[in-house]
Symmetry: C2
Subunit: 175 residues, 2 copies
């Protein structure tokens, strides 16, 4: 941003950049409408690579117990990682806005999934039945401040909302 | 698996391993109940790392336009990548079971997200409003075979179902 104001930082977060984006969206709401993309190339068997912008492709595979070559985390593990990363951003952003210093933050995510549907043995839910997250936050803030922070983060998490709500999914096959 | 049968491969998929797992689950349904995990460590600002089993931690960050350092794909992009990878596994597994040879497979995923809620400007949906997937599959199979394959994959995708359905999400904060 081409501002001349001094950048104030807490939790290493560039507060001016975040506040600037929010201000820009208030002025021009259409700026908030974003589209995100990923391109996946199949590499044989259960291995594939997801390419996102100019970052190095990330390898995906299934463990040997599921017939894969175990060259990388599998898709459902990646999804849990995405949720943990999203919550970490949420805590960092909202703690900073609330003036709360984060000393340390770890997010542990786990989810239960029944393989029957994926393996074609029954109809039903192939996805996660339940996802549990334990957030360990080290801070000098009061329990009240942290509970307020927690409520803010969980009510504004993009990945959290995507999982907790139904998302219209349009999957088209072209030869 | 300690079978002595010859492993037959198509699309590089180890058919015996997949069939063996399905057979094992038919015999002992509890084997299908799996739990998956990811641990995320915050690294300052909007950067974090997701650790999954013994794989190298994957870096997550936000682009500079969102106040991040742009050191890696952001969480919502990772989620789209997970969906694409999951569908790739689904096509590989189900094509192989149907005797369909895959020459090439690419999955393009994109999703729309309004930043108002994430930035705390309005209440509402912080997550994806819509996700679109284009699957490009190169194969000699008939259009009918491919449509049947497509229907099978989309009705059995773990990440697809997780996104298209509501998942109970339990997020606990510990200091």
């Amino acid at each position: 941003m081409s501002t001349t104001e001094t950048t104030t930082q807490l939790n290493d977060v560039n507060i001016a950049a975040v506040a600037g984006l929010a201000g820009k969206i208030v002025e021009e709401p259409a700026v908030a409408a974003t589209t995100w993309q990923a391109t996946v190339d199949w590499k044989g068997a259960f291995r594939s690579e997801a390419s996102i912008r100019d970052f190095a492709p990330a390898v995906s595979d299934e463990p040997e117990s599921l017939g894969g070559g175990d060259a990388g985390p599998n898709p459902v593990e990646q999804l849990l990682g995405a949720l943990g990363n999203c919550l970490a951003v949420g805590y960092a952003a909202n703690a900073t806005m609330a003036g709360i210093d984060i000393k340390d933050l770890q997010v542990k995510v786990e989810g239960d999934l029944d393989l029957h549907t994926f393996l074609g043995l029954t109809d039903g839910n192939a996805g996660f039945e339940d996802i549990r997250v334990n957030v360990h936050l080290d801070s000098d803030a009061s329990p009240e401040q942290l509970q307020e922070l927690h409520a803010k983060v969980t009510s504004t998490s993009p990945v959290g909302h995507t999982l907790a709500r139904t998302v219209p999914l349009h999957i088209d096959l072209a030869q």
